[in-house]
């Protein structure tokens, strides 16, 4: 038990510390790197909970894909750090207000939170060791919550199509490689044999 407790406090401490560093680091790239560290340690916490499927999905989706693109964009931005600092005091009241409102809302939600009586019995009975939580999750997602699951998928699909439509533009004068055209090109379309008499040229 000591090992689990030690791991929990280690992961939890690093998660919170890197969360603080995300908002306080001067360099935005460092912020993203700390964000990745926070994701990673949250995955460690999931493993401690016995939710290894969620842990792996968190690493694959958030760390392996989302954060890469995030880092990609942040690294390419041409940010002037001095200019970034200048607006700090100006935006500070607005940011602080939003932060306080969110904090109050969170406290309100957590304060009114009560587990249902059925939930109490579940929390006392963790998943049996011989059950794979991948299979259990699949069993719940594809039976009980199938419509919600599909709806979530559709919403994501629509969002993706929307992003593509918004950013897609057809520019004039861009020559793209057309593989099919290249493959279908015949010899007589491309080459003309000409007999040139010496001294005359074409």
């Amino acid at each position: 038990m000591i090992v689990q407790a030690f791991c929990f406090y280690l992961f939890a401490f690093i998660t919170i510390a890197s969360g603080v560093m995300v908002i306080s680091a001067r360099n935005p790239v460092h912020s993203v790197l700390f964000l990745i560290l926070a994701f990673f340690n949250s995955a460690g916490l999931f493993v401690l909970l016995g939710a290894e499927f969620l842990a792996m999905i968190l690493v694959i989706v958030y760390v392996g894909a989302v954060a890469v693109l995030f880092l990609f964009v942040v690294m390419m931005l041409d940010i002037n750090f001095v200019e970034l600092r200048e607006g700090f005091l100006q935006y500070m009241p607005l940011g602080a207000t939003i932060g306080i409102i969110l904090l109050i809302e969170l406290l309100a939600v957590l304060g009114a939170w009560s587990l249902s009586p059925a939930g109490d019995t579940i929390s006392a009975a963790p998943i049996a060791a011989d059950q794979e939580n991948t299979r259990l999750l699949g069993g719940v997602l594809y039976t009980r919550y199938i419509y919600l699951f599909q709806a979530a998928g559709m919403i994501l699909l629509v969002a993706m199509i929307g992003a593509i439509v918004l950013t897609h533009r057809v520019r004039e004068g861009v020559r793209k490689q057309k593989i099919a055209d290249q493959v279908h090109r015949r010899r007589d379309e491309a080459v003309a044999l000409v007999k040139v008499k010496s001294g005359q040229g074409l």
Binding site: F53, M56, V59, I60, V68, L71, M75, M76, T134
Partner: protein, 343 residues
């Protein structure tokens, strides 16, 4: 709180820890030797394909060449560029190297011979291989050099693109096996290796593995002709050695992954007399060796892709094909009532 006792501390915590460390060393040390020998193997095979001699001075057949190179890198000076972001610059090679090693925890070498037989083995491998991009992106960015940065950007886009099709190919395998455990996946291939029913998927997986490990013909992140050496241009001495070792360990890892997913891991091709006399781990290493030969063979044969062609191949060819593969496999399994039942 129980009374503190030394015997408890020793038998419950320290002894298992020592055993675990020894097991880890038993995997990591041979792996590092294998990585060193892979560089020798690669140079020798390339030389044979080019009708050259290859390394032949240090040791018999040049076998010790890799260790000589390692020693040379070890005694050189580590140079950190003055414009570099020092912490990230130093951490990046460590991340590459560590990630290349931790993935081996779940690889089954033989029946029951695996450090950690976790239920989500495939996802773990996929997660670790998708993290590999960070070492490259961080090293490219921290170097504060245009060449390194361009290499890192190319690499990030490339690895993310090919991961998508690798993910779908993993799904086809999982559909047939009905488990995410790597040992279960190998056991499911006792009658027929998945390379036969899933041949197109295996080919796409191998090509995606080439792109994922930044190998020829997809080695644009370090294209010498355009980018000098891409993201590793500013690295020297041990920091370079770590990047290099990590990359090569990743190549061996991808070969092991292909062997486990498609070539039946430790299983012999047919379960009859002369074949099943040979122990499983020899089959497994033999398969890895053949796949490594493929990696080198491809490098000696194909010219480098252009970047837009690389992206086209990933998104417009492999992604639809692997998506179609998932639909087809699922359809066939349902139609012939072959869906694996919950065990």
């Amino acid at each position: 709180m129980a009374e503190f006792s030394w015997t408890l501390l020793w038998f419950d915590y320290l002894w298992p820890l020592i055993i675990l460390l020894l097991l880890v060393l038993a995997i990591v040390v041979p792996l590092l030797v294998a990585v060193a020998m892979f560089t020798w193997f690669e140079r020798k095979v390339m030389a044979a394909m080019h009708l050259r001699m290859g390394p032949n001075v240090v040791g018999p057949f040049g076998l010790l060449q890799a260790f000589a190179d390692g020693l040379k890198l070890f005694v050189k000076e580590t140079i950190v560029p003055s414009g570099a972001n020092k912490v990230v610059f130093i951490i990046a090679p460590m991340i590459t190297f560590t990630l290349a090693l931790v993935a081996w925890a779940v690889i089954p070498f033989d029946e029951g011979v695996v450090l950690s037989n976790i239920n989500v083995g495939v996802l773990y491998l996929f997660a670790v291989s998708s993290l590999g991009v960070y070492g490259i992106v961080m090293s490219g960015w921290a170097s504060n050099s245009r060449y390194a940065f361009l290499g890192a950007m190319r690499s990030a886009a490339q690895m993310v693109s090919y991961e998508v099709s690798i993910g779908f190919i993993l799904v086809t395998v999982l559909l047939i096996v009905g488990s995410l455990n790597l040992s279960d996946i190998v056991e499911a291939q006792r009658n027929v290796w998945f390379v036969i029913p899933l041949f197109p998927m295996a080919v796409i997986f191998f090509i995606s593995a080439l792109a994922e490990t930044n190998r020829h013909p997809f080695d644009l992140p370090e294209a010498e002709a355009e980018l000098v050496a891409g993201y590793q241009v500013e690295y020297s001495s041990m920091t370079f050695a770590l990047l290099f070792l990590g990359e090569n360990a990743n190549i061996i890892l991808m070969s092991a992954m292909t062997a486990v997913l498609f070539l039946g891991g430790w299983l012999p091709p047919i379960d009859i007399a002369p074949f099943n006399w040979i122990p499983g781990w020899i089959w497994f290493f033999g398969k890895i060796l053949i796949l490594l030969y493929f990696f080198v063979w491809v490098r000696a044969t194909f010219p480098r892709y252009r970047y837009d062609q690389l992206m086209r191949l990933g998104w417009k060819v492999f992604l639809p094909l692997s998506l179609f593969g998932v639909a087809l496999t699922a359809g066939v399994l349902v139609a012939f009532d072959l869906v694996p039942q919950a065990g």
